[in-house]
């Protein structure tokens, strides 16, 4: 599902260098990425998603070598194949819950918004226990509810790959478990790959493999 070979990434002329000689994540695998702050965990997700591009080396995601795609094609590929979940939820404040979930269908022509998609969005919201909040604006939701909306947005296109950047970082213990359950259950039910960056060691037992980014620190500047 994810294959990285001899990848080198550097932000401009800065000190930060991420050097990953080899990394593979199998299809359907649930992987936790841990490591100290600034070690490049988020950068890794960005590289796997095609949001950032390495200076050298190959990144293959969902069978697609990202270097072969131009910017537009990368965005089209990403929106159809990768579900992204962020620590800060990143909901649009002016859209209600349902519209936030439907956002991918409104910002890219490669997806077509129809009644089935709307129905699926409503069902997703119900399945995570916030179906009754579909008309609310994000300002009127709790942190846990917001993250569940963000997760529904990531799951709507039924992506084969989920990339979650500290999805539980801003949540209380009860919501942490709940959000992680949703992600893990989805991955299990759909044979999807889940890569989650986390600082929470209590959650590691939910993953099949843990990649410790401290391993790459020797190479990171």
């Amino acid at each position: 599902m994810i294959e990285i070979r001899n990848m080198l990434f550097q932000y401009g002329e800065g000190d930060f260098r991420l050097d990953v000689p080899s990394l593979q994540v199998a299809s359907g695998e649930r992987v936790a990425v841990v490591g100290p702050s600034g070690s490049g965990k988020t950068t890794l997700l960005n590289l796997v998603a095609g949001i950032a591009r390495p200076q050298s080396g190959d990144v293959v995601t969902v069978g697609q070598k990202l270097a072969d795609l131009d910017d537009g094609a990368t965005r089209n590929f990403r929106i159809r194949n990768i579900g992204l979940v962020f620590q800060e939820f990143e909901l649009l404040e002016y859209l209600d819950v349902l519209d936030n979930v439907l956002l991918p269908y409104r910002i890219n022509n490669s997806l077509e918004l129809d009644s089935q998609v709307r129905q699926r969005a409503a069902e997703l919201l119900k399945s995570v226990g916030i179906g009754h909040l579909r008309d609310r604006l994000p300002d009127h939701l709790s942190q846990g509810e917001r993250q569940r909306v963000a997760v529904c947005r990531a799951l709507l296109v039924k992506p084969p790959l989920l990339l979650a950047d500290e999805p539980t970082g801003n949540l209380d213990p009860a919501n942490k478990g709940r959000v992680l359950d949703i992600l893990v259950d989805y991955a299990a039910a759909n044979d999807a790959t889940l890569v989650t960056v986390t600082h929470d060691s209590n959650l590691l037992s939910r993953f099949e493999r843990v990649i410790d980014f401290s391993d790459f620190l020797g190479r990171a500047g």
Binding site: N76, F86, E90, L92, P104, I107, N108, N109
Partner: protein
Amino acid sequence: MSGVLYLAWQYLAYNRWKTTILVGSIMLIIYLPVGLNVVVEQSGQHLNARAQATPLLVGAKGSPLELTLNTLYFSLDTPELTTFREATSIAESGLAEAIPMYVRFRSRSQPIIGTSFEYFAFRGLTLADGRMPALLGEAVLGATAAETLGVGVGDAVVSSPETAFDLAGIYPLKMNIVGVLEPSFTSDDNAIFVDVKTAWIIEGLGHGHQDLANPDASSAVLNRTADNIVANASLVQFNEITVDNIESFHFHGNLDGYPLTGVIAVPNDDKSGVILMGRYLDSEANNQNVRPRDVVEELLDTILTIQQFIVAAVFIVAVATIATAALVFLLSLRLRRREIDTIGKIGGGRWHVASMLLAEIVIVLVLGCVLAAGLTALTWRYGSAIIESVVMA
């Protein structure tokens, strides 16, 4: 594309106060010069048409503008008063037809025009209903006046006192409506026309009361001599002219000395007009002669100059507003950096983000333009009425 428009609309709706201010600003900077131009153009047409149709005005020396606005457009400002003698003099000169005008009183907001029968022929006014006034106390209404007051032939209108609390002032006179005019789309539509003598009765210069020779009125007699009867305050004065009391109405003194606000002079030919104008060149003369078209032209020149100043000021404000709006937009882009990044990370195309931002600008511009167009249409529709009310005030 619909997704982009939807997102743009949702953003604008969520930030409704910011949107309202931007749309309002756009609307104003478009509407002010355009609406002003419509008003000026309509006022020019409105004022010019009537001025062109009125050859000469004669009135007491004073403001030519006040005389013109009062005589032609029935404005509230009463010019210096001339006398009926002036109308008689013009008529007797054989140079022009003289139409007396006494525009001083109102019935609610409608002006009461004391004039002669010739006025209707001169303005080409025709009846829609009823007949022309033939007796004292009879009135003919313009189409708008009848509609505004909600009256018609057979009803009555009452003159309004000049000052509500002046007990010694003019008492209201009830006038019977005998005709309603066809619309002429001029100031005449708003007016109530009566004979000039009726206007003098409204002023109290003519009046009717109980016959003191009648035994029934004996209690009103204060002193009676062989050739004079003095009445006391209980004498009943009539505030309506009827068939039964019309004979009692009378005027004291010589009518030539009675007041007029102006006289419309219609010269028999160009030469007569020039001769007539020459009569008023004497600096010692108490009256003046004005050509309404000259007065209105001067007024329009002044309005045009003011309009140019206003348009220049609006242009400067518009530049400042657009610069401010652009600044607000650029600042909002900085504030929305995270939102834009999120859309990009999820997979939104650059074109989509740019289109969304552009759509927001276009929607604001379109809303501003539509509202400005609506206001302009309203101004176009009601501009004449506004001008009318401004001139009459």
